[in-house]
């Protein structure tokens, strides 16, 4: 079948993207045949259908996750089959729109699920296929080691049809006349790469290349200007479709593929290992460049610069995976800007160059003199920093660290410590391998060396790659060991002139850990190395310059659950609270930040209160000049106010009034927290009154027009909480707040949508003449109904809640019915999310009140899934469901469905519930079902 596809299927001309099948009757027939084969496969060959493919079939699907029913776990835009292989990997994995399937059984099922979209799916599957190893040759040729086929048109020769295989490059039989088929037979010698072949075949190419090669050897680092011979290189993306038909063939292919994937590594690795795979790289490069639409010469080797680039991109990907979101500055590595050779150089440049010369050619004494002299330059100035680098000073300085001359190492580190404040220098230090050497110095018996190395690491580790290098070389463990300063207290005080105190060592260690702790993996490494108890101990000191890095590290790390638990266990909160009272603003800021991170946890919130942390937090609100600190403090207040007791305290300290005052003229980071805190406070009546009285509602409503997503989530929540108060609701209504909330339902971010929808519920409940108000929003009802098509559970639940409130008004209910609310709600019924179930059931019971909606729900198959809700563990779901079923049971057909799905037994249990509403609804429903049964019996016997 694969052969049939490559031979017969009519592909569109080679384009930049994936090839597509032309719409022709022949193609359609082929695809249909494939579909028939695959669909019947599961019945005809049930055993073979369970074989797991070595590599999954992958394509972009149009299927919606909602289409997947039983046998699949659906969560948001992800679908996994419950059928798994022996490693527990699902055989079907859909992450919209990418789908991966690894068995014929699943293929059959997907076609069944696709229903009338079968043709599309099968076509998409065939078109999108590309071998993950980067090969474009058909699999039966891959077995012979062939990678792809290239058409080359030199200036002075016929078009050459070339096969690139792992043995080398050779001419094949050329294109046959029909349908662009290739005669795969080898027709010429095997050359080591494409360039050699072309040189042999084309004199002009050879001539041009020899010009190029001279340049190559001259400047191997630089990319060549685009003077390449204008040979037209075209790759025939031929025949990249595999046979997925007969079992025998499939097995053979899998065998071939698995061997191939061993030989031809996945493309990323492939491109990393440069030298040994020259010929392949040539091919690869040709392909890549072709795709870019450029005609560049093929290279026989990849320049080191390029290899480095590739390596960097691979590293970056790794980093993205391993690093957390708390990455702050410098995430992007900017390209170096070197001083231009002929630019006017400052006099420092020449002096530094001379000193570096002495560093290179001097003994210990001369080196120390040169280092001390270099230190006298203004190393904070970029000119000097870059001068040191540009004259090759960094190499020498790092090199000195590898000698065993203590004084030279001290001198070198003193300079590195200063110049590593420059982001470019940091990168250069890392590129030159400076970090592993510094990490080794952390083991030195000389404390001053340890300190300087740790301080330099603290500067260098400001970007991801550096942090990773520190970790990979065991730096985290060593840095954590520096924190343990009490251990060697028995040492003689005056051991050497070049020594410093233990406390200083610990401080430098904390400083370096602070920088390192911005990466997720490092946080984990610090914890594993036993860093938390040591940090906790250092936190008991009273030196500000020690406390800042310690609290800074803790604050960074507290983003992790593990840490928050440990911070609680190590009784760190107490000291954080204590240091809130410090005079140092930076320390206050970090303490507040750490509390902010940790106060997600209820017990921690209580601890903050018990240690008297709320009062200093409240009083810090009054100083609004330092915005960073204000953001941290308001953040801490926000999280702390999740606990009611804390809110009471804040009210005592008049913090709520102060917070309202902070609703204007503050940066967004502050506003998010202020509004978040007010949203929590608003949960209590007393506080809502305070906020209204000091004029908080107006600024809150004003913030509804912002664009900051986090802020909008908090603002909607706060406004919603205020709307619970009818008096506040009047103000919100007058300020046009409901319309603003309603507009936020159009916000692209689901969190904002959901939060706005939740806020609308109390607004509709408490607004005077709510029905009229809702109708006044042009297109508002349609907007809400259409949100039922969302794939976000929280959005769906919140929208259901809004609809429940809207539907209280008969006229509005009629409108939303016309907008098709019933089928949309029915479609959602197959959910197992309890929150959604509850609100969905409430909406359904409310929507039953109009026209023939009861019947319509039955017709759209909403009843059977609802019965299953009764098996949930959530009483709220039970109550809402029983009420919905009661409403639905007014229709006879629904009663039959309920009965068939075993509703009676479940409802009978509910009748015994202590919840009266539930009792009543359940009993009502049973009575409706029973009445119908009696009526039928009566009809039968009369």
């Amino acid at each position: 079948m694969g052969v049939a596809l490559t031979r017969s299927a009519q592909w569109t001309a080679v384009g930049h993207g994936a090839k597509t099948l032309e719409v022709t009757p022949l193609n359609e027939a082929i695809v249909k045949e494939i579909i028939m084969f695959v669909e019947s496969f599961i019945y005809k060959y049930p055993q073979e259908a369970n074989y797991v493919f070595v590599e999954p079939l992958e394509w972009k699907t149009n299927l919606d996750p909602s289409a997947f029913g039983s046998g699949y776990a659906v969560s948001g835009t992800i679908v996994k089959s419950e059928e798994v292989d022996k490693n527990g990997e699902p055989l079907l994995y859909l992450s919209v729109p990418q789908i991966k399937i690894r068995s014929f059984g699943q293929l059959s099922r997907i076609l069944y699920i696709a229903k009338n979209m079968k043709l599309k799916e099968a076509q998409a599957c065939i078109e999108d296929y590309e071998f993950s190893n980067g090969c474009r040759a058909p699999p039966w040729r891959q077995i012979k080691g062939e990678i792809c086929y290239v058409l080359v048109k030199p200036h002075d020769a016929e078009t050459l049809c070339v096969t690139c295989s792992k043995e080398g490059v050779f001419l094949n039989g050329g294109k046959t006349d029909d349908e662009g088929q290739i005669n795969y037979e080898r027709k010429g010698e095997i050359y080591k790469d494409l360039v050699t072949l072309l040189k042999e075949k084309s004199a002009i190419f050879s001539e041009n290349m020899s010009k190029q090669e001279i340049k190559f050897s001259e400047q191997p680092q630089k990319d060549q200007p685009n003077e390449a011979p204008k040979e037209e290189v075209a790759i025939t993306h031929k025949a990249s479709v595999t046979s997925r038909k007969s079992t025998q063939e499939k097995n053979r292919i899998n065998l071939g593929r698995s061997q191939l994937t061993k030989r031809l590594e996945p493309s990323l690795n492939w491109r990393t290992s440069v030298s040994s795979k020259e010929s392949r790289n040539t091919l690869r490069d040709t392909q890549v460049e072709k795709h870019g639409g450029k005609l560049e010469k093929s290279r026989s080797s990849v320049s080191p610069g390029r290899a480095q680039l590739i390596r960097k991109s691979v590293e970056k990907i790794e980093e993205i995976i391993s690093d957390s979101s708390s990455e702050s500055e410098e995430d992007e590595e900017q390209p170096d800007h070197r001083q231009e050779a002929n630019a006017d150089l400052p006099s420092e440049y020449w002096q530094i160059q001379k000193l570096v010369k002495y560093l290179k050619g001097g003994n210990q004494t001369a080196t120390v003199i040169a280092l001390c002299s270099m230190k006298d330059f203004n190393l904070a100035q970029e000119t000097c920093q870059l001068a040191i680098r540009d004259v090759g000073g960094l190499e020498v300085l790092i090199n000195l660290l590898e000698t065993d001359e203590v004084k030279c190492k001290i001198g070198s580190l003193k300079i590195l410590k200063e110049i590593s404040h420059n982001p470019q220098i940091r990168r250069n230090i890392v590129d030159l391998g400076g970090l592993p050497v510094m990490v080794n110095i952390l083991d030195s018996p000389h404390k001053s060396l340890k300190c300087l190395a740790a301080e330099t690491i603290a500067n260098v580790a400001k970007f991801r790659r550096a942090r990773r290098v520190v970790r990979r070389h065991g730096g985290i463990t060593k840095l954590v060991a520096l924190l343990d300063c009490g251990k060697h207290s028995g040492e003689p005080a005056q051991s050497s002139l070049y020594e410093t105190r233990d406390v200083e060592v610990a401080r430098c260690g904390a400083l370096a850990l602070w920088s390192c702790s911005k990466s997720y993996a490092n946080k984990e490494a610090i914890r594993k190395a036993g860093g938390i108890p040591l940090l906790a101990r250092l936190l008991k000191t009273s030196h500000e310059n020690m406390l800042i890095p310690v609290v800074g590290t803790l604050q960074e790390c507290a983003s992790e659950e593990n840490y928050r638990a440990a911070i609680k266990a190590e009784r760190i909160i107490e000291n954080l609270v204590k240091n809130l009272n410090s005079e140092n603003e930076q320390l206050q800021e970090h303490c507040a930040m750490a509390i902010y991170q940790c106060a997600e946890d209820e017990e921690t919130r209580d601890l903050v209160r018990l240690h008297g942390g709320l009062k200093p937090l409240a009083s810090l609100l009054n100083n609004t000049d330092n915005k960073e600190r204000l953001a941290a403090v308001t953040g801490a207040i926000w999280k702390c106010s999740i606990s009611k007791e804390n809110v009471t305290k804040f009210r005592e300290y008049k913090a709520i009034e102060t917070l309202v005052g902070l609703l204007t003229d503050q940066p967004e980071e502050v506003l998010v927290n202020v509004v978040g805190a007010l949203g929590e406070c608003c949960q209590e009546h007393e506080n809502r009154v305070i906020i209204r009285r000091c004029g908080g509602i107006q600024p809150l409503v004003n913030l509804l027009v912002g664009i900051n997503q986090a802020l909008l989530v908090n603002v909607t929540k706060a406004v919603g909480a205020c709307a619970v108060e009818p008096e506040s609701m009047m103000i919100i209504d007058r300020l046009d707040g409901v319309r603003l909330l309603w507009s936020l339902l159009k916000n692209p971010h689901p969190d904002v949508k959901a939060s706005a929808a939740w806020a609308l519920c109390p607004c509709i409940q408490n607004a005077k003449d709510a029905g009229e108000m809702v109708r006044s929003f042009v297109g508002g009802l349609e907007l809400v109904v259409n949100l039922l098509k969302s794939d976000n559970k929280e959005v769906l639940a919140s929208v259901c809640a809004v609809i429940t409130n809207i539907a209280k008004d008969q006229e509005n209910l009629a409108v939303i019915t016309d907008h098709g609310v019933v089928p949309l709600l029915s479609k959602l019924a197959n959910t197992n999310n309890d929150k959604l179930r509850r609100h969905l059931a409430e909406t359904i019971s409310r929507c039953c009140m109009w026209g023939r909606n009861r019947v319509a729900f039955g017709e759209h198959k909403a009843v059977a899934p609802l019965v299953r809700y009764l098996k949930s563990n959530d009483t709220n779901v039970h109550r809402a469901t029983a009420q919905a079923l009661y409403q639905l049971s007014e229709d006879a057909d629904n009663c039959v469905t309920m009965h068939e799905n075993g509703a009676v037994k479940l409802l009978l249990d509910m009748v015994g519930s202590p919840d009266e509403e539930l009792q009543e609804a359940a009993a009502g429903c049973i009575s409706n079902i029973r009445r119908l049964a009696l009526a039928i019996e009566k009809a039968r016997y009369s």
Partner: protein, 246 residues
């Protein structure tokens, strides 16, 4: 020497030497006599370490290599200038050499560097001390140019009163700003890594821990200390480095 005399000597030296304990002084005296060897005590004959014996100790124990500096260190120890280090000079000298305060060491180092003893380190003296500190580049026209320049750099850094030579005040100020300049013109104090290494070996074996910082208090330990020294992979000139610079 009889025991009574030894006791008396120990007591007097301990009294005047604040950096060593009595036990340490006793060990040092023992070591001294072991190094000097069995010489019968006679009137008029000075018992002590001559220049060569002392230089040998400096080289073997403290890793010093520069001949001139070693000579200067010998002179620093030999307070009475009789070409021989007596037991008193030995103990006092080591007290500064091993345990001296920054002030004591500055004074000692300045004396070492002040070759002609005129209380100034002149340009010529600097040149003399630094003349072997740079790798000679055969391409250079004046092979001493680098050294001269280095002297100028040093002066610029340390000559605060701009009189073209270093007084003790100049030197002291520079060292207080940057301790690395203490041995600005050559290593005349024990190498920090040797000291550190000795520290480590001694904290491991308790009976030797009574004499921290001092290698080989008993003669039989001398050879042991040699083994414990950081194996000196490099010679000072040229220094070994990992990179391709030399």
């Amino acid at each position: 020497m009889n025991r009574k005399k030894l006791q008396k000597l120990t007591d007097s030296l301990t009294k005047n030497c604040k950096h060593f304990s009595k036990f340490e002084v006793k060990c040092l005296i023992n070591l001294f006599y072991n190094l000097v060897g069995e010489v019968t005590e006679r009137q008029g004959v000075i018992i002590g370490l001559d220049r060569n014996a002392f230089r040998n100790i400096l080289h073997m124990t403290f890793g010093m290599t520069d001949d001139m500096i070693m000579d200067r260190v010998f002179r620093g120890f030999d307070k009475d200038n009789d070409g021989c280090i007596s037991v008193t000079e030995w103990v006092y000298g080591l007290s500064v050499f091993l345990r001296g305060t920054l002030e004591e060491k500055m004074k000692y180092c300045f004396e070492v560097f002040d070759l002609n003893g005129d209380s100034f380190i002149s340009k010529e003296e600097m040149f003399h001390m630094l003349k072997n500190s740079l790798l000679k580049q055969p391409s250079e026209e004046d092979p001493d140019e680098g050294i001269k320049d280095l002297v100028e750099i040093t002066l610029k850094k340390m000559d605060h009163d701009h009189d073209g030579k270093l007084s003790f005040a100049d030197y002291e100020q520079a060292v207080r700003e940057e301790t690395l300049l203490l041995e600005a013109f050559g290593p005349c104090l024990p190498d920090p890594k040797v000291t550190a290494c000795v520290h480590r070996t001694e904290t491991k074996t308790p009976y030797r821990s009574s004499s921290p910082g001092l290698p080989g208090l008993a003669s039989d330990q001398m050879s042991h200390i040699h083994l414990q020294r950081t194996p000196s992979k490099r010679e000072r000139q040229p220094r070994n480095r990992a990179g391709p610079y030399l």
